[in-house]
Amino acid sequence: MKARIFGLAAFAACLAMPVYAVALSDAAGSYTISPSGSSIRFTIGKAGGGGFDGAFGRFKGTIRIDNGDVGRSKVDLTIYPESVGTGQGRIDAFLRSDAVFDATNNPEIQFRSTSVTRTGDTTALVIGRLTARGKTFSEKFTAELGGLKGGTIKFHVTGKVLRSRYGMDVGTPLYSNIVDFDMTLMGKRG
């Protein structure tokens, strides 16, 4: 009898809860972004069609999902521009040089979220301050929860950044000013 009442109570609790793909209470916690399983890719459109693809090989960060209030969740991400790779060594050297990232004098690109707004069952709008080459601007990214399994959380993050604002306008209009980011961030609890 006792077990039956407990079962009913659990059923009622389930009904009362919003139907999210992943219950917030399950996802809540702090995660460390794991470079294996994560990727930070970008594409820049080229005049005449096609694009220019690259990725950052080294980065670190944390994701904190607040149990009570998603809006108080936080994302911190540090990218090392030295680790940029495009598959073309001469282009990589150009990107690392003071023409673009100036990786020697600016070894880190940082993103610190300032607000997280839930936009759907599994999506959120992440607004934060992006700092690159000593310049900081507010940027928006869309995060979609890809899965939660055994203390590992996965997000697909996309967003557009205007590179001219960070003193990286070289090559416009041959190469678009818009950098399209496509990231998979895998976090491990703890």
Partner: protein, 189 residues
């Protein structure tokens, strides 16, 4: 009234403008090419290379116009004082100058077309210039880089010879060979 077309003894102003414009741009391109690959700033180097490509396509257009004009307008004959040897070699030198004016921009165009950097070409940021239908590879890129480089040095040597010959005509032989490419022909002639 100055004439646009050449006369038997003088050049018309169309040919004079094209001559000096192409000459200045050609020498400028040589200097720009020399500097752009030696600049330490990667950004400046990139921008100078794009400018070099833009001027190269402008030159190619001007040279096609110039050759078309030249084919419809016979060049004035040389003054009577010019010797037999020069009378025979000058047309060859001029033909070679025209050949370099065509070959240099074309080899540059081939170079950007086969480059594995795949940098688009937008002359003066106005429009996208398509690549020549050539296969890109590192080997082709270094081949066309060498071709463009050798043509540039041979071309500038020929230009130096051309300038020296013009100065010789003006200051030593004191004939009209230099002045006739400065002062246009007149309709009265």
């Amino acid at each position: 009234m100055q004439s646009i077309t050449n006369t038997p003894t003088r050049y018309g102003w169309a040919m004079i403008i094209l001559h000096w414009l192409i000459g200045i741009l050609f020498i400028g391109q040589f200097a720009l090419g020399f500097v752009m690959v030696r600049t330490t700033s990667q950004r400046t180097s990139f921008e100078l290379i794009q400018l070099h490509k833009s001027v190269g396509f402008l030159l190619l257009g001007l040279i096609i116009l110039r050759i078309a004009w030249r084919l419809r307008n016979a060049a004035p004959t040389l003054p009577g004082s010019v010797g037999t040897l020069e009378r025979k070699t000058a047309p060859l030198a001029h033909f070679a100058l025209y050949a370099f004016q065509i070959a240099l921009p074309l080899s540059g165009w081939a170079l950007v077309s086969v480059s594995t950097l795949e940098i688009p070409t937008m002359p003066f940021n106005l429009f996208v210039m398509p690549n020549l239908p050539l296969t890109e590879s590192d080997a082709s890129e270094s081949f066309w880089t060498s071709v463009h480089w050798y043509l540039a040095y041979a071309g500038i040597a020929l230009v130096a010879l051309h300038i020296a010959a013009a100065l010789r005509h003006h200051f030593l032989l004191r004939d009209t060979v230099l002045t006739r490419i400065i002062t246009p022909s007149s309709a009265k002639e």
